[in-house]
Symmetry: none
Subunit: 306 residues, 5 copies
Amino acid sequence: MNERVREILGNYASDSPGTRTNLARLLNHGRLGGTGRLVILPVDQGFEHGPARSFAANPAGYDPRSHFELALAAGCNAYAAPLGFLEAGAAEFAGEIPLILKLNNSDSLSTGEPCSAVTGSVDDALRLGCVAIGFTIYPASNLRNTMYEQIRALGEEAKRKGLAVVVWSYPRGSALSKEGETAIDVVAYAAQIACQLAAHVVKVKLPTAHIEQAAAKKVYDKERIPIATLAERVRHVVQSAFNGRRIVIFSGGEAKDTASILDEVRAIRDGGGFGSIIGRNSFQRPRKEAIDFLQTVMDIYAGKSK
Amino acid sequence: MNERVREILGNYASDSPGTRTNLARLLNHGRLGGTGRLVILPVDQGFEHGPARSFAANPAGYDPRSHFELALAAGCNAYAAPLGFLEAGAAEFAGEIPLILKLNNSDSLSTGEPCSAVTGSVDDALRLGCVAIGFTIYPASNLRNTMYEQIRALGEEAKRKGLAVVVWSYPRGSALSKEGETAIDVVAYAAQIACQLAAHVVKVKLPTAHIEQAAAKKVYDKERIPIATLAERVRHVVQSAFNGRRIVIFSGGEAKDTASILDEVRAIRDGGGFGSIIGRNSFQRPRKEAIDFLQTVMDIYAGKSK
Amino acid sequence: MNERVREILGNYASDSPGTRTNLARLLNHGRLGGTGRLVILPVDQGFEHGPARSFAANPAGYDPRSHFELALAAGCNAYAAPLGFLEAGAAEFAGEIPLILKLNNSDSLSTGEPCSAVTGSVDDALRLGCVAIGFTIYPASNLRNTMYEQIRALGEEAKRKGLAVVVWSYPRGSALSKEGETAIDVVAYAAQIACQLAAHVVKVKLPTAHIEQAAAKKVYDKERIPIATLAERVRHVVQSAFNGRRIVIFSGGEAKDTASILDEVRAIRDGGGFGSIIGRNSFQRPRKEAIDFLQTVMDIYAGKSK
Amino acid sequence: MNERVREILGNYASDSPGTRTNLARLLNHGRLGGTGRLVILPVDQGFEHGPARSFAANPAGYDPRSHFELALAAGCNAYAAPLGFLEAGAAEFAGEIPLILKLNNSDSLSTGEPCSAVTGSVDDALRLGCVAIGFTIYPASNLRNTMYEQIRALGEEAKRKGLAVVVWSYPRGSALSKEGETAIDVVAYAAQIACQLAAHVVKVKLPTAHIEQAAAKKVYDKERIPIATLAERVRHVVQSAFNGRRIVIFSGGEAKDTASILDEVRAIRDGGGFGSIIGRNSFQRPRKEAIDFLQTVMDIYAGKSK
Amino acid sequence: MNERVREILGNYASDSPGTRTNLARLLNHGRLGGTGRLVILPVDQGFEHGPARSFAANPAGYDPRSHFELALAAGCNAYAAPLGFLEAGAAEFAGEIPLILKLNNSDSLSTGEPCSAVTGSVDDALRLGCVAIGFTIYPASNLRNTMYEQIRALGEEAKRKGLAVVVWSYPRGSALSKEGETAIDVVAYAAQIACQLAAHVVKVKLPTAHIEQAAAKKVYDKERIPIATLAERVRHVVQSAFNGRRIVIFSGGEAKDTASILDEVRAIRDGGGFGSIIGRNSFQRPRKEAIDFLQTVMDIYAGKSK
């Protein structure tokens, strides 16, 4: 096994061999297998944004199998989705690509304080042959404690059963401005919370240079924490995730132009981030274009491309 | 995924995607990955025969890590052992090779009707990141019902948790002569019983041309079932394992000379057997020799060597 | 729904709608659907007698799918088999024919007082979509209480989960002569015991005119119970099964010539038996011949043929 | 409520209101309702002796409904039977007569030390609307501890769920002569054991004047315990059942002539026994005769007839 | 058993014999036993309205035994109360009158959206010898889902344990005007909801001719549903309760003059209602007067009085 993968697994020495085996499967699969970098394909937008907003741009995406196929063809490390999408392909693609079952999800049909519903179980993940469970928390929501307590219990169960735990940590809720959701202090804090909740892999949004909290701003100014460039901000977030001893990956966010995304990927790479989780920016493209795009991203992480 | 592996997985359509994923991991790993053939390294002899009888010939074998290393270096599909041996290496080798936890074992310190003790659990297998549980039954023992009922419960649990089930089926006990233990009718029956007990993978001994049961002999004679050559007998055993729809592998048995073993491997290959499980004949050799030997066996299965 | 089926279901008024639904599925499927008569294909001989004795005469039978196909093509009411055989086809044939999971089985490799091993669970039956569990008891075995207590627990669970319960009641053991196993008093008693154990469907062997128990002989003589013809004996067995308020079917026993079997079927029909369960006499014939044979049997039950 | 019934219920003050409610239902139903005396119809002979020996004399008895009807028409306090017989009528006769589910039963097809098999559960009794569970113990069997421990657990569960507990206490087994089974010292001892096992209602056989145990004989002689007449012996058994604070009823035993039975009933009445449980001597008679007979018995208990 | 009771029990054929037995006990007890009509005494006002408002008018009511005695003396079919009141008399009155344990209750000390607290369990009901559990739902409360989910679980458990389920269905809450609580469309809807929640017995308030919902009003007008007289409205409610296949009884409501209540009872009888549940209007009267009053009500139902 690759030395970098061994080194990363060494950061999880408190975990069972089963959980480490599944982390290894995640790190060793696909085009980036063995590099210590990851690109994951997530498709939860059908649940989160509705089908037309998610799949009309590339109608192949209405078919659940198309996402397994895209992840496989592009050589992603894993494919992550809610229960329904995974059940609709797990048998046909058994053993072909590591799967992450997203255990909670929100729809866009209601308002109020953000809190996802638990829509799957750890036993579902075992039954479907997944390597990990995924779970979203919304720090800054008034309902955050509900989510923290759910992931506490689900995470404990997943680890007992040899699975890994991936946490999407997205600050959101009445305690935060829209701009604050991606403020550097808030994103770094979100990464720390997910690590403290004992996630193995943390997913956050790319941070802006904005600082949301007054109390934090004083420290950032006083200590002159470098946050001017995106790479610097990524480095700070990775530092905030137990100084690089937990895997942190970044979401692509809204669909945008290719050049911008590739610039972001270079910044993640240069800042020491572990990789990307790219949904809409991949599966909303036609198949061939999507594969080319994802492989370009991977080549940047692998150092094969600038 | 390789077509042959897909075809084999197709025989397990009643199983969950999780179990099929673990069968795929078994079939896709190592030097024979993707060929539909398997060579597994089992090391339960320390428990079954005692340490000196097992490891004195090649003292490296006293160290549990040596067996993980041998299986990895030789490119075996999996490594199978009791709880103690797996716990002593599963963390260090997490994710590097599929593991099978042997859930029951016998020692050689007592006499009486044969019946192994259950020495591990399905949850142990999850915790250690295994792809399958292993279990030994002794048809013809007066205590067979105890073992059948244990594997019934353990197999149901393993399947519910997404693992595969490997059954060692060794007829033995007061109802059988020593010669009868490897009689063709008895070995074929042992394979059938393991399949009816719903094993995914069945391990039996290579059969002789002897026929033990009078009632069976009439049928073999009347129907002129071909059992003259070892390849013919292997074919009959595979047929008896749901007509090749269950994976059947053969044990090497006692240590013997290399040429004999390679002849046996050719017969297994030609008779449509799925592979070998080779313990003493591999780990009792010095490391380099063991690797060469195992890879020669694999090359025969892969068709790279006669 | 057919009046005769409604009438039979009316005898099970203490059971849940779920169990009655599954009894209705059994009674309404196939060529005899709706007549109140049944022909069931059982294939447990691979486990009970070994593969060659069971399948060499018609090697298609080594393949588990062949039995699903035979039961379907012939129009049987159901197919009954152990866990391994059902798992090897339940997915492919899902919803095509009612299935009965035989929860205990014996092999022929050992001796001693007869007692089958429990080799499947009620949850397995649910998972495989079965309509009923099957269970064998050996009244007259010294181990009968073990079996009675197992079916008590399994039957209660099956009923709670909406399944039907089929009991094979075969007197056998050290308390009985070989001839006594099919004695009219013993077979009638075996039917009664299965009914008292709360089976929904009872399977017994065809009885001879022999009377085994001295205490019973006095009564048969004194009350002049008619047992001279096979039809009379069938009638007495049906009477002993709660006066026809429980479904009683008869096994074909050893392979024999067609004319003899058809005569037996006529006697079962004329004596008010509910049908036959025919294994070796069907699947050991070539496919076409087996279908013709089974359909001839069904036509006799349906009154389409003498 | 009748004073005598209140007085009897007062002896069960440690029991829950639910259990006392069910004892009251037993005492208040039928022709003897409210008198503190009971006549119960038990039909377990189909299981215990086989169908022909039980029902051929009056073939109506093959139909399970006939026994519900007889118990109702005669005005018995309750009907007791194994699971199969109760399931075959409990829905049709729901709420018409108190039911007792006999939770263990023996057949006559095997030999060996006596021990009934558990063939029903407390939840079955709830599901069928029973007022009590019934259980047979064989003091003097080498397997008595098995039975004592089973009734301990079943009795505890029945009481927790508000049911009453009826124990058939029949000394039998290798430790006792045939004559000893109904010896006065043994029957009194059997009644005591059932009471100590916390039965609410105890059923024993009518005792003879024989004394089986040497140690007991000394005391009977020394203390001049009166046991010459049947009424005296009944009085001694009732005394042995917590001095009349537990309900003791007596079984009719084998079929015999009517006059003898009525004499026995008078002795039970005069000795302070609580009533009779009469199986074969009632249901083996034609319906009209059986009703007349049972009502004559009840009239004796009610004091309406000598 | 009375034909009308058999006919009513026939409407509950999906239920176990145990549940049907307890429904039969309810229908067969007391002065109206066997008529298919019921008068039940409920005393939950101590909890719901406080002791002085409930019992000061007739201080005997402070003593829990007085209500058992009233129900018995008047010949009611059953007595219903919360856990405390039942525990305070169930032992003394064991077996004398069917009991219904009200499993949830509200006090009058708080405001806010109506939702009763669960104050008893199904096992309490078994322990106390009850025939049924009672449960109140408040359709139109914002907390209705809490109550619907509680009765779903409690009802499932009660049925599994052989008890019957009585639901008080009282529309109430912020979604409804005060007048709307007894509007004919709302009461009919409340009866339907209770039936759909699988109650065996439904208790609603007597409806007025008011129609609350605009959408319903259109249909009532268009289809000219007759609701002018109270008897017509009762008939419509009974129709709405599965066309008379579920038992519907009506509450007396607030204390009022005797003549008015008797007129209401005549309307319930003429409209095909199954009976009354009368609390304050009975137990707040002096004992003798209360008995006379309740028996007058029963005579109207029995047709002995106009």
